[in-house]
Point group: C2
Chain length 400, copies 2
């Protein structure tokens, strides 16, 4: 039985994530022979994506050569496309962000106009960086779902309703000249987490992504799980009260109605109206939520209660997620966790540890993403890097 993914890609993954590493270690980890590794590494060296950087300490015989990723050999561009704002990042092969640009969301702009603006902004961003344009392998787009990944269209995001007919990847590809791929923002964040080696390979984990909506990306053994149509992990529309209020999505009692930024803001507005808290609201969800979060960590008890309440509801949905897909790790990412991530981590860890069915068998670890707010954009960038350099897939493998 063969493994999925090319061995070359796997070797590259290891060199990237396990830092300076020798051929012998690669052979041990992969189970391939030293001969095979030697050949694969030769190709990687020829491709320029890996370099030999001195020798390791001698262990009695010939010292092993240290292999390292060559960060500047390839670059990926990622964009986190959101209603309120979008973020571009340019990442090198090591996953380091070498360029970043935040722009306003589409607002009143139609998709066609906004995409033109994106292409312009990206061109400027790249012009300002001293990198070889030919080393940029592509553009990854992270967007809130539901999406049609094959078609490259955001089909059903409530916050981007006008985009449901717009050929997003096709247009961006035409305007930028890059090959473009679209994926769910939570999925992109999860992939970025794996790419940066912060999660051990071989484990099953999910990212919980909260921007203005809530999503989950699932990574199984280094491979993104996309389900039947890439619309996996709509955690925000897991119900925490099946007989609760109706959600615009059609379901009832969706956790987003209780834990999502919009819900937190709405309650904070109520509190403000009745004088319980002193906050100004801009009408931009991300900014308003940040204001509540800021109040919470600076000790305002009411704001803190709102955030803790949100964390509890989110944790309750996560318990269902864990009971359904049996996770090892959980990683929180997205702008909503920027200030108050620690509160969410603590609450979720506590509730999952108390309520998940398999809690006696295994400990589900919960922590913040190493990539913070840029997790989705960076994940989108790594997506194109991965697709180019170490393709792997569960989806494309058909049994018959």
């Amino acid at each position: 039985m063969r493994r999925r993914g090319s061995s070359k890609g796997r070797a590259l993954d290891l060199i990237r994530s396990q830092g300076p590493i020798s051929r012998v270690e690669l052979a041990e980890i992969t189970g391939l022979t030293q001969a095979t590794i030697s050949n694969l590494v030769r190709e990687l060296l020829a491709d320029g994506v890996v370099s030999e950087t001195g020798r390791g300490e001698s262990s009695g015989g010939k010292p092993r050569m240290r292999l390292e990723i060559n960060p500047a050999s390839r670059f990926g561009v990622g964009v986190d496309l959101g209603a309120d704002s979008s973020t571009f990042v340019v990442a090198d092969l090591a996953g380091t962000i070498i360029g970043r640009l935040g722009i306003d969301g589409p607002g009143a702009l139609g998709p066609a106009d906004y995409v033109r603006r994106m292409a312009d902004d990206l061109a400027h961003l790249l012009d300002g960086l001293d990198i070889d344009r030919a080393a940029v392998v592509g553009l990854g787009i992270a967007a809130p779902g539901p999406i049609d990944r094959e078609a490259g269209v955001i089909v059903g995001a409530p916050s981007l309703a006008a985009w449901s007919e717009f050929p997003l990847t096709a247009e961006l590809s035409r305007l930028t000249g890059f090959s473009c791929v679209l994926d769910n923002d939570a999925t992109a964040a999860a992939l970025g987490e794996f790419w940066l080696g912060a999660t051990e390979v071989g484990s099953t984990y999910a990212s919980v992504y909260m921007g203005t909506g809530i999503g989950a990306g699932i990574v199984f053994d280094g491979t993104v799980y996309r389900g039947s149509r890439s619309n996996v992990g709509e955690l925000g529309h897991v119900s925490v009260d099946a007989r609760g209020p109706e959600c615009p999505c059609g379901n009832r009692g969706c956790v987003e109605l209780y834990a999502g930024p919009h819900a937190v803001i709405a309650r904070a507005r109520e509190a403000a109206a009745s004088g319980g808290i002193d906050l100004e609201f801009t009408g931009v969800a991300a900014a308003d939520f940040a204001a509540v979060a800021e109040a919470a960590i600076t000790g305002h008890p009411l704001a803190l209660a709102l955030i803790e309440d949100s964390a509890e509801y989110l944790a309750e949905a996560i318990v269902s997620l864990v009971n359904i897909i049996d996770l090892d790790h959980l990683v929180l990412a997205g702008s909503a966790f920027e200030k108050v991530g620690a509160i969410y981590v603590r609450t979720i860890q506590h509730i999952v540890g108390e309520r998940a069915l398999s809690r006696h068998l295994q400990h589900v670890s919960v922590r913040m993403s190493v990539n913070g707010t840029d997790a989705a954009a960076l994940g989108a960038a790594t997506m194109v890097l991965q697709e180019q350099l170490s393709p792997r897939s569960l989806q494309s493998v058909t049994l018959a």
Copy 2:
């Protein structure tokens, strides 16, 4: 990139599920060349698991040979181990049940004694069948989770609490001489559904299994998804009211408390106590639920309301499942659906069609398992057949 699973196994899968099929068709479906298929088929013929059964209709040239599975060449034994009752089935390679035996559950018997009884009963069952003992490839055990699949132990099933330290597969293997594997009952049911060809390969689907508990088995592209520790799909402990009553599992508002057989029985008992319905209760969950179900389909409005209520709650949990893992198909299996499956199918189809987030992108089909009540036992039998004849796995594939 190679596919997972041996090509030989894939060819066998196709011959089994696609009925009489020619080499040319196999080549078309698998994408392998006719030459390769010819070689694989030769091996399968030599193994005796496949036979040539006459020629197909001529299409102008040499008529194609029809290949069929040789059902009597291998057999698998499966047992659905439950608290109230257990069921053995002996299945041939075509998935036909050629022997079946229902026995009482452990009751007051300890695991060691019950396992001895199981071994005896199985021996009798096999003695009564005219099959070559050497053609039996193994024994699959389906049990309610949580389980430790590697260790072969039922670690946390509330209804089988006494078994949490008992080396189940080791003991059964010692007593029967068969190689034993343990899996979740819902997972087994899902696998059985795939094995019998009732679900097209390449699709993502889940079985919802309701015996006395509620579980879900997830099959992705012909391969069982086992998560990190095989404790995937604990649908019964998905919450439908996060602030609802406490469940013995530690969570709150688990759907099992609303939709599970125990819940239905409890409400029926209340109704009976207040004279609303005339039913006798035995104290055995399966029988009592069957009585309520019987009343429901024979037109008793209160019983019908109870069942419909259960179906609605279950459907609400399923919406969360669908939103999380993006399914194509849903299959209902397990004893609870024996009489009232149609009601559940209708209700679930309706609610999922109305509430699932991706409902505009795809239609999630809902239907009863082709294997009915024996789905888990038959699935367990197919599990060992599959492991022997067409091994495949997501879990054992490690990236590093």
